[in-house]
Subunit: 366 residues, 2 copies
């Protein structure tokens, strides 16, 4: 029984996965989202909570609901393929729920990769698409290597800057591994931490432990999560402040994501990327699926993934660490635990979801 | 007159670019490398020095020469396309000089992208290919978005480990920008610093300033460059030791590179990647070229790259920084300076090159 994040059972209520999925789905359906689309969004949000990425789970439900109510997110969008070849496509999301446009793009990338070895599909005019890893995971479950990236709202001060400017722009990569159902799964913000991690400290009213953010007024490192999340703070890129520990690399990776999922796809970038609950945000996504069988033998690929992972885990261990992890492992173990014990939902979020449910005539979480 | 790295003129000798290129090329030709291939390697090494990446420049010449002499690198390899489609290919490098196999793969990726929007070309059985940015730069100069990655020798202790295990596995991305000849160019090791940066401190006999490496015996942070570069030290991934500042992300990016350029391409990975001067190293590379015109309008892409870059540079500046840089800019300015003033070659390296030249009957650097 392992969980990625320690859960204080007093502060959380455990909900069975299927029940959480039902309520989230029904809430979207009540907002006139087609059932199939509601299932995609629910699957995406619940998967985040299941795997211990609380910041991208159902605690975001209210923002999505507000986005739909405010008209910034269309429930019956005209998602269409704007450009297409046997190996690539560009999709216009028409201000859909990000997950819905992204899912369609991801499916198309998978289809193309299965037929022609490679599929690159971009999306413009989209919204927040949840965890980047969701799509990389799904692609990997099809036996392909999956890449997923997205632009995101400006929260990070790039190297030399002193304002929220670039996004936390995540990069995710999934790949199938022999002998295990769950894929290798890297899913990382290109900032030193994702904003969700700071939200957790804000909720606990505790200073953040690392050098994660600066004041946008003095440029000094700050630790107060309220200040960091206010206009007075900005998160640092992976590598931290300045170039000494490679902050310019995290900055560069954020720009890489902005180029591939924003500029290349005709979507916007960095500080132009909007929120999810106000006006249209023009988020851009990038998906890539690669059939390992195109370059070599698909089974050998999986075998070598297995070998590589086992080697990484069995390296000479640092005494300060309990064990060596491989990406995706903590999420998989957390999901296993939560499928049995239920998904812990922060009590305030639980109440919030039930308030939304009641308002929309949906049977609340039991 | 800007140079990325401050040059102590007493320790260096400035050599005109063309003269440096001539000697390096002639040395390879004297080693029976075909003239065309010798030009590729010389261009690659000289470009590194020109742009201020001394660690990957002609100071590596001796290693390449030793590799050829030891038989680990073939001067007349049978480089062949093993698998191919209109958008992808796998090349077997047959233990060629890394640059030679990589250049061929890069050209093929460009050709495919120009015809079919996308080109992904991998290489197995290769060797050290110089700076990753060289290939991304060349692709970008063709008006395409270019990505270049390579596996590399184990020098980095991944999160939780206490030995040299994964490579410094670089990621490079180049993209054309309106109004400037030189592309946007990100070229980064996925470790906190590349090993070359530590070599510079070793030469100066100075401790490294950052938390860049650990002892493989105690796991503690160490600063002695000799120790770091010996079997007793290991570089840390981008993000540093443990997970507090995202060390697991740098580790994840190193694995991402190992998957795409190693496992996927039928090459080896992490600790199996060999050196360049001993036995065959089976390095793997990954190249991708994307035509921005496939997804949208190529001119608009360049215009928006221009806009994005100008915005990044004009963000509210942190008082501790002189200016805000964009990736590639320092290298371009350094190259401009050095084209006029000459490329600074460390005196020991200068002597080493001339010793090799004399031994091979090549006219030494004047």
């Amino acid at each position: 029984m392992f969980e990625k994040v320690k859960v204080d059972e007093k502060e959380y209520k455990r909900v069975p996965k299927d029940e959480l999925f039902r309520v989230v789905k029904e809430i979207f359906v009540a907002l006139n989202v087609p059932e199939e689309d509601a299932e995609i969004v629910a699957d995406n949000l619940v998967m985040a909570d299941l795997r211990g990425v609380e910041s991208h789970g159902v605690q975001r439900l209210k923002r999505y609901v507000d986005g739909i109510k405010a008209g910034g997110v269309k429930v019956n969008p005209n998602i269409r393929v704007v450009k297409e070849s046997p190996v690539y496509a560009l999709i216009d999301g028409d201000e859909a729920l990000g997950q819905v446009a992204a899912y369609r793009a991801m499916r198309l990338a998978i289809e193309k990769a299965k037929k022609n070895g490679i599929g690159v599909v971009g999306v413009r005019n989209s919204n927040h698409y949840g965890i980047a890893g969701y799509y990389a995971y799904k692609i990997a479950k099809e036996g392909l290597v999956g890449i997923s990236m997205t632009t995101s709202r400006p929260l990070v001060a790039h190297t030399g800057a002193m304002e929220k400017f670039v996004g936390t722009n995540p990069i995710a990569l999934g790949a199938p591994v022999e002998g295990q159902e769950e894929p290798f799964l890297l899913d990382m913000a290109t900032s030193v931490v994702p904003s969700g991690k700071i939200e957790v400290y804000r909720r606990k009213n505790k200073p953040v432990p690392g050098e994660w953010a600066i004041s946008t007024e003095t440029g000094e490192i700050i630790h107060d999560p309220n200040e960091i999340l206010s206009p007075k703070g900005a998160i640092l890129p992976l590598g931290g402040l300045g170039e000494l520990s490679g902050g310019h690399k995290g900055y560069g990776l954020a720009v890489l994501v902005d180029i591939l999922s924003g500029v290349l796809m005709g979507a916007t970038w960095s500080r132009h990327v909007g929120g999810t609950s106000d006006k249209h945000s023009d988020v851009g996504h990038f998906f890539m699926a690669i059939d390992p069988g195109a370059f070599g033998d698909a089974d050998e690929f999986k075998r070598n993934m297995r070998k590589m992972i086992d080697e990484l885990k069995n390296a000479k261990k640092h005494p300060r660490f309990e064990r060596i992890w491989v990406h995706g492992e903590k999420g998989h173990l957390t999901a296993e635990t939560r499928l049995k014990a239920g998904i812990p939902i922060y009590r305030k979020v639980y109440d919030e979801i039930n308030a939304i449910a009641k308002e929309l005539g949906v049977t609340p979480l039991s």
